[in-house]
Structures are given as structure tokens and as C-alpha cells.
């Protein structure tokens, strides 16, 4: 074991550092054991960065990732349930980190968005800046798809990457968490236990794991969640090309309790993501029965979904997702509201890994160096709630929808240099930019002026066509 494990970092409390590991400072040392609960993006990104950073300071860690599920299963079983949208900016960012998503993972590059409203549709092309997005399957594809193995699963790929970085994947369900002389102890369902110097909890909000912490980590409160609905339709390739194309279709419909819905093409499948309040069968039926939705399918006939699930999403950050020798990342901690959960998992996981290697694993270390990254996302989410409230208003007011449609359609038609509404909508739908940026862009002086003009024009000047690029659905 090396006597000096690492060099001091600028942010170090030097006195604590020189007090050594026997002092009050909690830090990992050569040979430390790290447990990661959950092998989704948050857990695997964390592992990847942790092992890379540790290697850079010549520290050998032994990492166990607890992931009982197999992402090579088809259908919802092997899936980590989400819409499967990765923004191009994240794909690029991952590439700079050495994570190159193979082409087999990316089912379809999304080139445009089609916004569907009762007053008409408008296609929003990729903005001038490179902002393409990729559609992926988190698992091994829907129920009736051709099995593709780990090479086709986003999560499967990341887990293999983490394993290749030197982590051990433990295929066991975690049953119990306890403290063993101040160190977290993980007990699996087969009764075996292991004690770690650090535990990273990346178990999301769709498992029973968060319940295990009520007694052992009372300061942590699991995030508030919302039930969503995701399903997959299988369509003939030519029908997909004709009706959907390389576009994501977004719906702003005046349906009570509906927050947001999108259709995303992936290979021979079409994924429906539906966000709302108290998503239930009645809401799903109303949505699927809407003429704007049916018009996206050949002859207005919607096939029976081949796969579906009701996953939960994080809608309000967990309270204090850290403690001595423990940290919560991904959906189990703080995540981006509604969009780009993978991107926020990446940022939070990296912040956690940096904190662990460069600072320490005490509650105070996480508060100082990890929590700010979480807080940025959390603050952005507060802005998001404002924006979604505005889009909810648009959803409910027909005259607003006319204005938005007209403004966007005109921007798209003219190829205007400043596409105010288009960019706002693009960023809002794709999650390509922080919500704060979306909001600040709508403060551009031209934006309200243009919107006002379009509101008037769209609602009063009825002699002219309303500028819809595509015919409204009948």
C-alpha cells in the first residue's frame, strides 16, 4: 500500500490532509472498496469517472456495482424505462470523456421536431448550431424486436464499459443497508454482506432501494416522483418514413392532466412518452383517441402497443443526498426535470467522482464539492417549472396556440437568422440547453414583440392562411 496516496489539491483542507487517514478526514485510500447500487447511467458514469480519476492519482480502488437486472432482456424487463433521447451535445461531451456510443446504439438520428396542436402543425428543423439528438433504447428493445444484445442497449453498453474499466458487476438484489463500524454495509438477497468505504446509490426511483435508507440515513429523503406512461408501437418501415420520418413529434393538446407527450422513432418502433398528473388509463385513452395523435398513424389506425410501462420520474430533488461515506446520484438524488435525465446523471456522477477522489468522502466534502452541481440542476428545475407553467397556459388557450404556431411557422419558412420561438421550443423539447438559457432567450427584446404581432396576426387576420406548414388534422 502506498504511503502517500495522492497529491494535495487546491481545495484541500491541508491540516486535515496532513492529519492523515487516521484523523477525522474521511477519504479513500489505495485498496478502498466502493459499492455502487444500480448499474444504470448514473452508477456506470460514476464508476467510470471514479476509476479514471483514481488511476490518475495512482489509487487502486475495488468497485462493486450491484445490478441484478440484465439489460440484455427484451421488453420492459431489460429496460431502464425512459424515452431514450440523448442530445447531440451530450453525445459529443461523452465522446470527449472517451465514451464513444457505437452506431448500433443510436437507433435514429432525430433531425427535426413536429409540434402538433389542434390549430395546426409546424416542423422545427435542427437549429443552425449543431443540436442534433439521438434516439436510443435503454434496454434490449421492445418485446417483439430482434434481440441485439448489449451492443444495442444504451445501459448495457455503459455497464460493460464500467466493467471494462475494472469494476465488478454483482448480479444481486440489495436487500438491506446497515452501518458496520461507521462504514456502509450492503446485504444482498442471498444473505451475503459486504462493507464499503463508500457507497454510491444510483438506484433510480423505480426500485425498492430508496426505502432501505429510512433508518440508516434519516437525513436523506427520497425524491418526489411522477408516474409516466411509455409504450412502443411497431410500424412498417415505409409507414414510419411517411408518417413520422426522422422527426420527434411533440403534442401540445388541451387534455386535462396532460403535461407533455412525444412520439419518437427508433428503428422499426415508435416510442410514446406521456407525462402528466395521475397518469391513468382514462388519460392515456383520451390522448390516444385525439385526432392529432391518430393522424400520425397510417390511416389514423393505431396499432396495439407491443410494450409499455409506467415508470416514475424524479420531479423534486431528494433532500440531502449525501452523508459520511454515502452519496446519492442520478434519479435517486437530483435530476433534470422531465428531460435529459441521462445528461444530468452524467454531470452529477462526475461531480460525485471528483469529490470522492480530490476531496474526500465525508458529508462535508460532498456538501462543499458535490452539492453545488446538484443545486445548479435543482435551480434550473425551478425555472423549468415556470416554463412548463407557460407552456401549460399555451396548451389551454387556443389564441396563444395560434400565435405560437404562426410565429414558429414563419420563422421556419423564412429561414430567419433569429428563430426565437423555434429555438425556445427546440431547447424545451430536447433538453439540449439548461432551462435558464431557454428562459433568458425568451427575454430577447424581439421575442415578446414578435409573439405579440403573431398573436394578433394569428387570431385576427383570418383572411390569410395561418402559416401552418402542414395541414391541420381533420
Amino acid at each position: 500500500m502506498a504511503l502517500v496516496q495522492r497529491t494535495a489539491q487546491p481545495g484541500d483542507n491541508l491540516a486535515a490532509y496532513f492529519a492523515g487517514n487516521e484523523g477525522r478526514r474521511l477519504a479513500l485510500t489505495d485498496g478502498s472498496r466502493v459499492g455502487v447500487i444500480g448499474g444504470g447511467p448514473a452508477g456506470t458514469f460514476f464508476t467510470y469517472f471514479l476509476l479514471r480519476l483514481a488511476e490518475s492519482v495512482d489509487m487502486n480502488l475495488s468497485v462493486d456495482i450491484y445490478e441484478p437486472r440484465s439489460f440484455t432482456c427484451q421488453g420492459p424487463a431489460g429496460c431502464n424505462h425512459c424515452g431514450g433521447i440523448v442530445s447531440e451535445s451530450l453525445v459529443q461531451l461523452l465522446a470527449t470523456e472517451g465514451i464513444n456510443l457505437p452506431p448500433s446504439i443510436v437507433r435514429r438520428g432525430i433531425e427535426s421536431y413536429v409540434l402538433h396542436m389542434d390549430v395546426g402543425n409546424v416542423r422545427i428543423e435542427t437549429p443552425l448550431r449543431e443540436k442534433r439528438i439521438a434516439a436510443v433504447f435503454r434496454g434490449n428493445g421492445p418485446r417483439v424486436s430482434e434481440p441485439v444484445g448489449a451492443s444495442g442497449s444504451f445501459d448495457g453498453y455503459l455497464l460493460e464499459l464500467a466493467a471494462a474499466s475494472g469494476a465488478k458487476v454483482v448480479r444481486k438484489l440489495v436487500n438491506e443497508i446497515a452501518w458496520d463500524g461507521g462504514r456502509p454495509q450492503v446485504t444482498s438477497s442471498d444473505g451475503s454482506s459486504a462493507t464499503y468505504d463508500l457507497l454510491a446509490v444510483a438506484a433510480g426511483v423505480n426500485s425498492r432501494v430508496p426505502q432501505l435508507f429510512s433508518e440508516v440515513a434519516p437525513q436523506y429523503r427520497s425524491p418526489k416522483t411522477l408516474k409516466t406512461f411509455i409504450c412502443e408501437f411497431k410500424l412498417a418501415p415505409e409507414a414510419l418514413d411517411r408518417h413520422i420520418g426522422p422527426s420527434m413529434h411533440v403534442f401540445l393538446l388541451d387534455i386535462p392532466r396532460l403535461e407533455f407527450a412525444a412520439l419518437i422513432p427508433k428503428g422499426e418502433f415508435l416510442t410514446l412518452c406521456l407525462l402528466g398528473h395521475d397518469v391513468d388509463n382514462a388519460l392515456i385513452d383520451t390522448f390516444l383517441g385525439a385526432p392529432e395523435v391518430k393522424a400520425c398513424f397510417p390511416d389514423g389506425a393505431m396499432p396495439t402497443p407491443v410494450c409499455h410501462c409506467f415508470p416514475r420520474v424524479n420531479v423534486e430533488a431528494a433532500a440531502q443526498p449525501y452523508g459520511d461515506r454515502i452519496v446519492w446520484i442520478g434519479d435517486a438524488g437530483v435530476a433534470r426535470l422531465y428531460k435529459d435525465g441521462i445528461g444530468s446523471a452524467y454531470r452529477v456522477a462526475k461531480a460525485a467522482a471528483k469529490t470522492v477522489v480530490h476531496h474526500g468522502v465525508s458529508s462535508e466534502d460532498f456538501r462543499q464539492h458535490f452539492w453545488p452541481a446538484c443545486k445548479r440542476i435543482d435551480n434550473d428545475n425551478s425555472i423549468a417549472k415556470l416554463i412548463f407553467a407557460a407552456s401549460g397556459l399555451i396548451q389551454k388557450r387556443r389564441f396563444l396556440r395560434r400565435g405560437v404556431l404562426r410565429m414558429t411557422a414563419n420563422e421556419q419558412r423564412r429561414g430567419a437568422a433569429r428563430r426565437h420561438m423555434s429555438t425556445v421550443l427546440w431547447d424545451l423539447f430536447t433538453g439540449s440547453a439548461p432551462y435558464t438559457e431557454v428562459l433568458s432567450r425568451s427575454f430577447h427584446p424581439e421575442f415578446p414583440a414578435m409573439l405579440c404581432w403573431n398573436l394578433i396576426a394569428g387570431n385576427l387576420v383570418r383572411s390569410r392562411p395561418n402559416g401552418s406548414e402542414e395541414r391541420p388534422h381533420e
Partner: protein, 546 residues
Amino acid sequence: MKTASFQEVLARPKQSEQLPPCGAGCATGADIRGWIGVIAQRRKLGLWDAEAFSRAWRMVTNVNPFPATLGRICPHPCEAGCNRAGKDGAVAINALERFLGDWGLRQGLELERLEIGEKPESIGVIGAGPAGLSFAYQMARRGYRVTVYERNAKPGGMLQYGIPEYRLPERILAAEIQKILALGMELKLGTGIGREVSVRELKAQHDILFLGIGALRARMLGIPGEDGGSVWTGTEYLASVNRGEPPALGAEVIVVGGGNTAIDAARTARRSGARVTLLYRRTRQEMPAIAAEVEDALAEGVTLTFLAAPVRIGRTGAEVSSVAVQQMQLGDPDASGRRKPVAVSGSEYELPASALIAAVSQEPDWEGLDELAPGAPWIRSAQHGRIDDALWAGGDALGLGIAGLAIANGRRAAEALHARLRNRELRIPPARIPIAGDAIKSDFHCDRARAVAPEISVDDRLTAPEAEVRGTIGEAQFLEEVERCFSCGLCFGCEQCFMYCNGGGFSRLEEPTPGTYFALKLDACEGCRKCIELCPCGYLTAEPMG
């Protein structure tokens, strides 16, 4: 407005226990999945190894008081349908049963009594074979006074006299019989009915009689030359050897037949040092004998000649000198569904022979029992072996079968009789179709090779004729083998449903029992079907939503 199309794909789980193929195949009617499960799941159930073993032993002996015996000799039809067979080999159920039986003997476990208090009826059992002893066991453990009459010097019937020592050591059988006797019953050995005791006396002494007389009269071949010395039936020959009076066979023994008795006789004769040729009129495929035993016979140097039937025994003076053999070919299927052997004309040839053992067929021997014979040679009985209120039967006398079946006959007769005598309802589980193989997700389990029992070398077998050929698997092997069971059709606590359910529709039970690990909360079910698709044992089935 389009009606809800997505509703069609919703389904909620139903916990439905289904019949596993092993249970469907077991002649004794044992809950094989159940007793394997208690051991395989002992940690989840909070049981120590010994607790789990003895609980499993009780489950087995509830229907079969001979686990160490059947663990050695049963042709294990339970393994034939095992869903693991298609993956990496059927679970070695027979080897597991043997280990458990031996363990029960070693631990001195006692058979369980079911009812206390003596019942007024006196029960007489004729024949201490597997059927009679099983019947006597089930009656005695329910508090009846039982007397067993056996015309031979030792109890066990065919288990004692029909199975060679190298397959079933006498001490094992004797120890298991001892456990039955320990429940309290009278065993009268060397007591033939119509010989030492008359049927009249028997009827005067007992309210109920059970016929477990077996099928001990072996049929001869009906060919010229079979009358006279050096020609035996298979059962006669094996019984003589088991009594310690092996007949002199000479150097060239011909055994006729394709069943277990023929193979046992051939292997026993081989151990006397003779060259042995077994003639069977059909092919290897149609042989009813246990395949592994046939392999053993070959390994030990028995020559198997298929599609061959003896037509004449040649004698030089009184001594057997040759057997004329007719070559056969397979024709159309007969009543048993097997293709009927037909003679090929002009194909006769001669084999040198010093003795012939005919193990072709057997039938009940009614000598001294004529008054009781309800249809000879085979007994015709109503359900559960009932002939009339006071006369019941079971075992080979109803038709030839394996020992496990005779044990089941004895038990079912006892259960039915007990219900009748005590005016209780006889609960018979309804006949069910075993769970379909495609309901089992064998991919859930990793490949694991089937346990192989130790064997002694061929040289050792021939130099020590009584040495047991196959050994009992070790405890470590046993514990690994139970893990291979898929638990077809019953929850084994794999936690897949619990783990994947988004809605929290499964809650862990505080005190699980085999098959019940989770409670279903259908209110929380969102119909995604994940649990149903993942359940590796087929326990969760789909129910329409709503």
C-alpha cells in the same frame, strides 16, 4: 372515438401453483419439487441444513417409507419430464432421494405418526413386499392394529429377493423396513397363507385383509427343452442368489428378456464368472430396463443380442448344451404401442449354453389363496385397490409395475380405507396437466452440470460381486444439485417480480414458506406484465385487467 387499444395489452399477474413434470411422473406421488425446494430455499426460509433435510425427509416418507431403497433402484420416471433436461441435464432426483434416504437412516429419523389413539379394526396384510409394507405403514401410522404375513424368511418381497445386492444392499432395505415396524405392528415371517395359516383363520382374526402378494409365478418360454435342470426363471434365480444359495450355472449363460429382472439376472450371472449373453426380441430402444443398468451390464461384459428369440434348448443328456436362436425383425405396433417382433424365416442359429434364465414375464401366484382370488391371475379391483369392504389389494398383483407404483397402491388403498372406516371425506387432488415447458425460463439459470454418483470399477464389481456399484453423492454435491431445480410452477423466491414492479405490487412476506414469498397487491398493479414475463418458474400467469 377509438376505443382504448392499449387496454388489450394490459394484464395482471395471478399466483398459480401448477403441477411440475417431476411430480406428474413420480410413481409414488411424492411432492418432489416441494422437498427439493425446502432444501434449496433453506436460507430464505431461515432453516439450518439439518432442519431442511429432515423436513424434506418427512415430506418424502409421508408417501414413501423407502427413500434410500428407491433412491437406488427406481427407474425415476420423474426425471424424464424434467425441464432442466433440455438445458444441461435433468435434475438428478433419484440421486437426491438416495442421499436423503441415507441421511435419514444415518440420523436415525423416525417415521411420523399421523393419528394417536388406537382404532378398533384389526388389519391383516398378506405379503411383506413394497405394496403390503406401504399399506401396513400407512395404516399403522393412523393407529390401526396391523399384522403382516410373509411366507418367506425375510420381509421385502421383490425388493429383498428380486434385486441383487450390488444394486440394493440388504442392510439398507432392512433398515427402512425396521423403521416401519418401529411404528408398532406384528410381522409374521415364514407364514404362508394356506400353509401355516388358513384363509378362514385369517378372516376370523382380522376385519380387513390386504392382498400384496405380488406376481411371483414366472412364466416360462414354452419352448422345447425348457423342462429339466439348468433352466430358471429370472425371479427364481435372483431369489436363490439373495438367499445365499446360488445355483451352479456353468460357463455359458443365456438370459432371455429385456426388463430389469433380465438385466439383474444377467449381471448377477456375470458376477459368478460365466460368459453371459442376453437375448431380447426387440431392439435396445424398446428395452424396458433402466438405461444406466443396461450400460452397466455392457460395461461388465454382458453380450446383448437384439432381435433374437430362443426357440429350442438343446441338451446333451440332462445337461443344457445349446440354445437355438431365431432372428427377429420389427413389424407393426402391437397393443402396447411397441413394434411387434416377427420371426425372420431361415435365420436360426445356435449358441453354446450351459444354463438358461428366462426373465420374460411374471404373474400372481394364488397357491393357498384360491378362496381370496378375485379374478385370477390378475386381480380386478375397484378404485384404490378396493375389492370389497373387507378386502383390498395393491402392487404387482394388480398388474406389473415398478416398486414406486406398488408403494403408491398401498398408500392409496390405506387412505381410501381409512376414510371409509372413519367416515371421512377422501381428498383426492384433481388430475392436472403438468405445466408447459415453454412457461419455464431456463435462461434465468446458469448452466450447471448434473451431479454424477461415484461408481466402482468393472474389475472391482466382478471380483466383489456384492459390492454396491453406485455410491451415494456427497453432501456438497447434494446441496449443489438441489439448486439446479427450476421449481416449475411454484415460486422459489427469486425476487424478479418484486424487483421489477414499478407500482410496488409485490410485498415481501415476513415469514415465507416454500411457494409463498410475496403477497400480491393488485390495487398497485399497472398491468405492465413485466412480472409475468420474468417469472422464471411460470408461477405468475396473466389475468385480464379490470
